[in-house]
Symmetry: C2
Subunit: 205 residues, 2 copies
């Protein structure tokens, strides 16, 4: 949100905080505590602003969450988008899984994945948020499916493979890793989980 003039061409008092930094802070609170579990008091405290400023800048809790999820998908998940651009499908899989493991065990990051635990099971009043997160996860699956379709055209993977099924399978792996992370699995442990899969796929180094 850049500088705005109102209908009279006048401006008012400028923002006294960094929206970007505030949203980053909010994202991490949602990441750790989920949508329902994060309170406005915790959020605004972490953002370093008060309630009024938050409501003026971001709308309400649900809109703040949506913005946080967008930021997460673009920023924190960048290694996944990068992985999709690897030349061979084998490298796509290797980069995505290795990247995910590193991400899930990065010190300073909350455990787990916002896309999975942000709103997996919710209170009745947060059902729309839960549904939104389903769509976010399906969106990730879709991006992978497209990459698989390319790989199939290139003959990198067997012709009898259904790209939708294959994409769903790898999404399952990523979600499973996220739960492992919450379980407290170390980086080495998660790496060994990935090695098992890469071995089955004949995708080892």
């Amino acid at each position: 949100m850049s500088e705005k003039k109102n209908s009279n061409g006048r401006m008012g008092r400028p923002r006294g905080f960094d929206e970007d930094a505030a949203l980053e802070a909010a994202m991490r609170v949602f990441w750790e505590k989920s949508y329902d579990g994060a309170t406005m008091s915790e959020l605004t405290a972490a953002m370093g602003i008060n309630r009024s400023s938050m409501y003026a800048a971001f709308g309400d809790k649900e809109q703040l969450f949506r913005l946080a999820v967008e930021r997460y998908a673009v920023g924190q998940m960048s290694y996944l988008h990068a992985a999709l651009r690897e030349k061979s499908f084998k490298e796509v899989v290797r980069a995505a899984l290795k990247g995910m493991v590193e991400f899930l065990s990065t010190p300073g990051n909350p455990r787990g994945c916002l896309s999975v635990q942000g709103a997996l099971a919710t209170s009745a009043e947060s059902e729309s948020v839960k549904q939104m997160m389903v769509e976010v996860r399906k969106q990730g699956e879709l991006a992978l499916r497209k990459r698989i379709q390319e790989a199939k055209k290139d003959g990198e993977i067997p012709a009898d493979i259904n790209p939708s099924d294959y994409a769903r399978f790898f999404s399952l792996i990523v979600a499973g890793l996220a739960v492992q992370s919450v379980n407290g699995a170390t980086r080495a442990e998660m790496q060994r989980s990935v090695e098992i899969l890469l071995g089955l796929l004949n995708y080892q180094t």
Copy 2:
């Protein structure tokens, strides 16, 4: 909890509801809405009793949840315990994964798995519950590890396989399936995810 006499050998007014049925109802509410997301009002309404009776019979919300999780682990997860008793390891894996898919797509069941979504990311005050669920999941992993160790002794799986790693890997698959279920995956879709894995393992029918 059967009939009890107090210290004087006297009895009082008997329970006016079926504890078992009430706990079953509570379990399903937690299953659908998670620990934080389920309110006492929703719980007692589903249980068909009022707050006083609930607190007298089950303690508080956290104890009710613990009892619900126990019930879930024994009742709903029975097919997993049964799968562990299959003769060959191949049959263990096949029965567990097929059973999980059926379970996760049973009409009338909430979507997903209580063990995964009951308290994956929580409010600050529910952290002990979150930790308890980590232990529950690790317990499942442990049971599988023991079965894998047997299979290894019997020479059913390669000697260079680490049972802990292998158990963690399969737990990952199960958790991933649970997320797929929340995503709205159909039974057929989840079955195809499992088929892909069974194919990689050379465990097809």
